[in-house]
Amino acid sequence: MQPRIPGEPGIWLLIFGEMTVFAVLFASFLHARHGDVAGFLAGQAHLSKGIGIANTLLLLTSSLFVAKGVDMVKQGDSIHAPRLFAAGLACAAGFVLLKALEYAQLFAEGIAVGSHPFFGWYFALTALHLGHVLIGSLLLSALTLITRKPLTRPLHLALTESAGCFWHMVDLLWIVIFALIYLVE
């Protein structure tokens, strides 16, 4: 049996492209941080690690739901699949809410993009990632709707897998962002 790649070749082009762009951003962040470690640590102290951890757990859980959901689609289970995608979507909504809460807290402290290079990076990376979360949420909403009927065509299955892979990428990128912004000491 040939080794099987989930999704389609096209989605991997997109995912590797995205990861390359983010890798460049992460490297530039570390470079900027290297020049002003004390300032970046002072900025980091303003962030709530609790919210960061909660968001990481939310995305990991949603990834689990989505992986299970894709499995159910492959088994032709049109009852559990949409529920699992909806559960993943609920986690994504939780992530967005917590992110909004964190932004609101920082704004209340008078911190904005221009306060310090650390916050420039913080807002840029998290907002960019949030954009990916929103696009991924649209994909999950679409999956919730279309998997109510059994998907029979192989291309539909490949598309479902591709959307799932995109969501896992969103999760993976967040884990790196979380480590870089909230944890590095």
Partner: protein, 239 residues
């Protein structure tokens, strides 16, 4: 299938080559005459910004004229894309209409900044601060295309994944769907230029400029190629 509008293959080919010629002339005007490639740093002080427009003023203004002649190149290609989309849609081709309308209006992001560069260069001896306003307006206009391009791309992505015709003769193969989707995802980096004057997120940085511009030209080349290929097949099939 294939019962949509039956536009002439020759007319569509002409429009594609019109777009390619326009894009080539625009690239020449932008890179060689206006010389805003790579873009000037977003944190340049007013007197240096004014110098961008007053040095080589005549060459710059001729570049503006050429840029205005060619800057509408997105319109004919959008029309051909719409005609090809409408072939695949059933009933009123709403995705094709959305794509064509947003493409036509979206071309304003390409030629209007050039016109404003012309305004900035028109009076080289005005106070630099006034030129700075035109400069910042035109650059942010040029970079933050988010209002229309994602909607233009949406219908193309949808058709790439939902069409019934085989990939090797289609104007909308699946790989183009993924390329277009990546372009859509990356278009979110553009508006960040409003918040940053230096670094990767400023208007001369990686996210607002280099990635969207590279992807746009890769996408433009790709869709011109798939359109011409599809037209060849449609002509052979007598469609």
């Amino acid at each position: 299938m294939h019962q949509g509008p039956n536009a002439s293959v020759g007319g569509q080919r002409f429009m594609i080559w019109l777009a390619i010629a326009g894009a080539a002339l625009f690239a020449f005007a932008y890179i060689a005459m206006i010389r805003f490639f790579p873009p000037p740093p977003a944190d340049l002080p007013a007197d240096q910004v004014a110098l961008l427009y007053s040095a080589h003023n005549v060459r710059f203004r001729i570049g503006v004229i050429l840029g205005l002649i060619s800057g509408g190149f997105l319109v004919p290609i959008s029309i051909v894309i719409s005609v090809q989309m409408a072939r695949l849609e059933k009933g009123v081709p709403i995705w094709a209409i959305l794509q064509g309308v947003t493409g036509a209006i979206g071309s304003i992001f390409i030629w209007l900044p050039v016109l404003v560069w012309g305004v900035a260069a028109f009076s080289p001896d005005r106070p630099p601060e006034l030129t700075l306003i035109f400069h910042e307006f035109s650059w942010l206009f040029y970079i933050t295309t988010l209002a229309l391009f994602p909607m233009q791309l949406l219908g193309i992505i949808y058709l790439c994944f939902s069409k019934d015709e085989p990939d090797n003769v289609s104007a909308f193969p699946r790989w183009l769907g993924y390329l277009t989707a990546w372009q859509l995802v990356q278009s979110f980096g553009g508006p960040m230029a409003v918040l940053f004057k230096t670094g990767l997120f400023s208007w001369n940085g990686l996210l607002p400029f280099w990635i969207p511009f590279s992807l746009f030209f890769a996408w433009f080349a790709a869709i011109c190629w798939t359109l011409l290929r599809a037209l060849r097949c449609q002509k052979a099939a007598g469609a």
